[in-house]
Amino acid sequence: MSQQTVSSTEAPGAPRSGRLPKINPVFFVLAALLVAITLSNPNFVEPTGYMNFLKRAAPLAILAAGQIYVIVSGGFDLSVGSLITLTVVGSSMLLNNNADATWWVIPAMYAAGLAVGIVNGLVVSFLRVPSLIATLGMMITLNGAAFMWSSGSPRGYLPETFRFFGRVNIQGIPLIQFIPVALLVLLAFGSCLFWLMHRTNLGRMLHAIGDNPRAAQMSGVPLERVRITAFVVSSLSAVTAGILLGGFAGVSTDVGVGYELQAITACVIGGAQLLGGRGSVPASIAGALTLTAIFTLLNFIGLPKPVRDVVQGVILIVAVVLATYRRNRAGGT
């Protein structure tokens, strides 16, 4: 865009003209929710308030940033919740209360995540099992594996070295006083995924295969490779989220329960098109923050926790209906 000087006044037919930066509505919704939270709880503007919010939201945000890869490519990854559980349970089993083992346990978990992602991708690409079924099957299998490994009752706790990522705040930062390591992880992971999705060929290929796999194939896109990569990214994000959650939640066999649907909901709130073709990493992260903000707000208002599920279900459907409505109005098929 920099070298060539096609001026935007050359319309019609001039490229890149009139491209008003369209702001995704999710950012306005998020801003409104944050204002609402601040009004109901003024402490929120203190660093401890918003930093803790961000820290709590980080695992879901990371998960959503990974899930969006699979959604843009046209599928779903329902195995991420169980992979979180496996990461937490598996780490505690491998660590066995030995802090020195952290350095190899974490790579081992990433290796497991890589394997899960590859298997998901292979099953969908080559066995042609719809990702919904394939990853649900993976979910059952991984949950079973986590139970089997821990004989149903995980023991022990995770050592501080492992919990560092999820729990520790780095103190003494000017202006904001402290910054949680979890937030740094989110920033690093998020910018990586942003770059990969929005600046590389991979990102455009993901959009293409989600939009129209047949056309993509006829244009030479290596469908299988791209699809497998999407599942791998999603699985690695689940492992990362699992490591963070291991930091602030304890070890149990239900840490990951429900995260797959929350991640999908976050992506949908972020304007992602289900069954592929459209979606953005920052918007999905914003969607995750929005969902967390809604839960926080419900909490402040004093609504019981189960209401969350109802709200989440309704949000999921409403977001999809709104997206369909907007699309139909914009014209198209």
Partner: protein
């Protein structure tokens, strides 16, 4: 015509789709006991008009009058109840159901509230017997097991069994051979005698002469001409095309322009193709004619590696070229513009530039920069799109909103970025405005002049005759004839249908 009031009348129908004005005030009527032919090129609005008549689409303006009163059809059921039956070209039969089940779709005969399968099969056999013994179709066969012609006849039986007052036939002979056509024509005569109004859509002049009482020609969503008699074929053709054929197509290749063999196929075949031998040369546009299902698209897909050859020898620029996936074929320098742009060509939700960049990016490293591939940068692509005169508000807008011609040019740009040796066009002008068609023909010629070998597959026979330098005819998976430029439409049809032995 003794009957005073029409069985069906459409007045000033308008209909728009996003980006296209499909119908601009078309009027049309059909009287009981007459055949009213509706002619026009692809994309002239014939199918849209009939879909409004049958309640599939809702009209934007105008009125439909059936049985003397104005009707608003919001669901096909409304049209069926008003006595209108349509034989569609597309979405028509359920392949997994039997012939009888398809004929009585949605109105199965029942006894005590339960579907009476025996009565249904009996009734289906009765309707099918109208075709005579020439073409036997069993009522309990699964439709997927029938050949294309039989499926077309089932489709016709479905409409006939409705006992409709108006029957619309949308190019019913596309898949039929001569004998089957005669069966159909006899049936049309029978229906006519019974007082059924028949709207017959076709662009074959022979059928219009044989069957029609009146003719209406549509062009670009408007009535171009309407005749109360059947005029000479060339009068109809002129109304359809609306211009001199001369400047419509680009000038043919001169002998000097035709270069070396780019692709050579020897005795190749797969489950749908037998014994294919052909040479495609640089600078030459080779047209492929044949009936629906004759194997033209299968041949393109085999060359392109989508459903590969399983035997024989293929060489691209002298190197072995039996590709097993489009990706390999593309790498070696073959491009393909699919016939169904929406289903196989475009990524509709992405921008015009992204659509153009698709193949360039697909062949580059996954982690490489999306804006600067080794084949083309986005800026170069935008320049290319401009050179091809792709009209869009902005190249960063979704390609969905562009017209068919501009979408097609964006796909052409996709391949130009790769500079392929061989470019395969399947139905290059389907769904494209008449004016934009000429642009596509000239574009193909320009590419050929630059040394690309062009393979052109089209069901629009006049188009292939006008645009190609050489014409190959396929039938039942085989190449059956080769014609030089200037051959008559009739000779090609004879070769394609196989009625007479044709010497090349």
């Amino acid at each position: 015509m003794s009957t005073p009031s029409p069985a069906i009348e459409m007045r000033g129908i308008t209909k728009s789709f996003p980006g296209v004005k499909a119908l601009k005030g078309v009027s049309f009527s059909a009287y009981p006991g007459e055949v009213h032919a509706l002619a026009g090129e692809n994309g002239a609005g014939k199918s849209t008009l009939m879909k409004i008549l049958s309640g599939v689409y809702r009209l934007d303006g105008g009125a439909v009058i059936a049985g003397g009163e104005e009707r608003l059809f919001t669901h096909p059921l409304d049209a069926i109840r008003a006595g209108i039956a349509v034989i569609y070209q597309e979405f028509s039969l359920l392949p997994e159901r039997t012939v009888a089940q398809n004929i009585f779709l949605g109105r199965e005969p029942t006894r005590f509230g339960l579907v009476d399968h025996a009565a249904m099969n009996r009734e289906a056999r009765r309707v099918l017997s109208l075709f005579g013994s020439a073409h036997r179709i069993e009522a309990d066969t699964v439709v997927a097991d029938l050949d294309v012609a039989s499926q077309q006849l089932v489709e016709i039986a479905k409409a006939v069994s409705l006992d409709a007052r108006v029957i619309v036939m949308d190019e019913p002979t596309a898949a039929l051979n001569e004998a089957e056509c005669e069966v159909l024509f006899g049936l049309v005569d029978t229906l006519k005698k019974r007082g059924v109004a028949i709207i017959y859509i076709t662009h074959r002049m022979r059928e219009i002469t044989r069957l029609a009482d009146r003719v209406t020609v549509l062009k670009d969503g408007e009535t171009a001409a309407s005749f109360d008699h059947v005029p000479e074929p060339d009068v109809i053709v002129r109304a359809m095309v609306g211009r001199d054929i001369g400047d419509f197509y680009a000038a043919p290749a001169t002998p000097q322009e035709i270069g070396d063999v780019v692709l050579s196929v020897r005795n190749a075949g797969n489950e749908r193709l037998t014994n294919i031998t052909l040479d495609l040369r640089a600078g030459e546009i080779v047209g492929f004619a044949g009936l629906q299902g004759a194997g033209r698209v299968a041949l393109a897909q085999a060359i392109f590696g989508f459903s590969p050859f399983t035997e024989g020898e293929v060489k691209l620029a002298g190197k072995p070229a039996l590709f097993t996936s489009p990706r390999y074929a593309i790498r070696a320098g073959i491009g393909l513009l699919p016939g169904d742009r929406k289903a196989e060509g475009l990524v509709l939700m992405q921008s015009v530039t992204d659509n153009g960049m698709l193949t360039a990016r697909a062949l580059s490293a996954l982690a490489g920069k999306a804006d600067a591939t080794p084949f083309a940068s986005t800026d170069q692509m935008d320049g290319l799109l401009q050179d091809l005169d792709v009209r869009a508000g902005s190249f960063s807008q979704e390609i969905k909103a562009l017209s068919g011609g501009n979408q097609q040019k964006a796909i052409v740009a996709r391949w130009l970025a790769l500079a392929p040796r061989l470019l395969i066009f399947i139905e290059p002008t389907r769904g494209i405005d008449v004016n934009a068609k000429a642009g596509i023909y000239h574009l193909m010629r320009d590419l050929a002049r630059k040394g690309t070998a062009i393979m052109m597959i089209s069901s629009d026979l006049p188009e292939v005759l006008g645009a190609a330098d050489r014409l190959l005819v396929m039938r039942a998976g085989e190449l059956v004839a080769t014609f030089e430029r200037g051959v008559s439409e009739a000779d090609v049809m004879l070769a394609a249908t196989g009625e007479e032995a044709v010497a090349a």
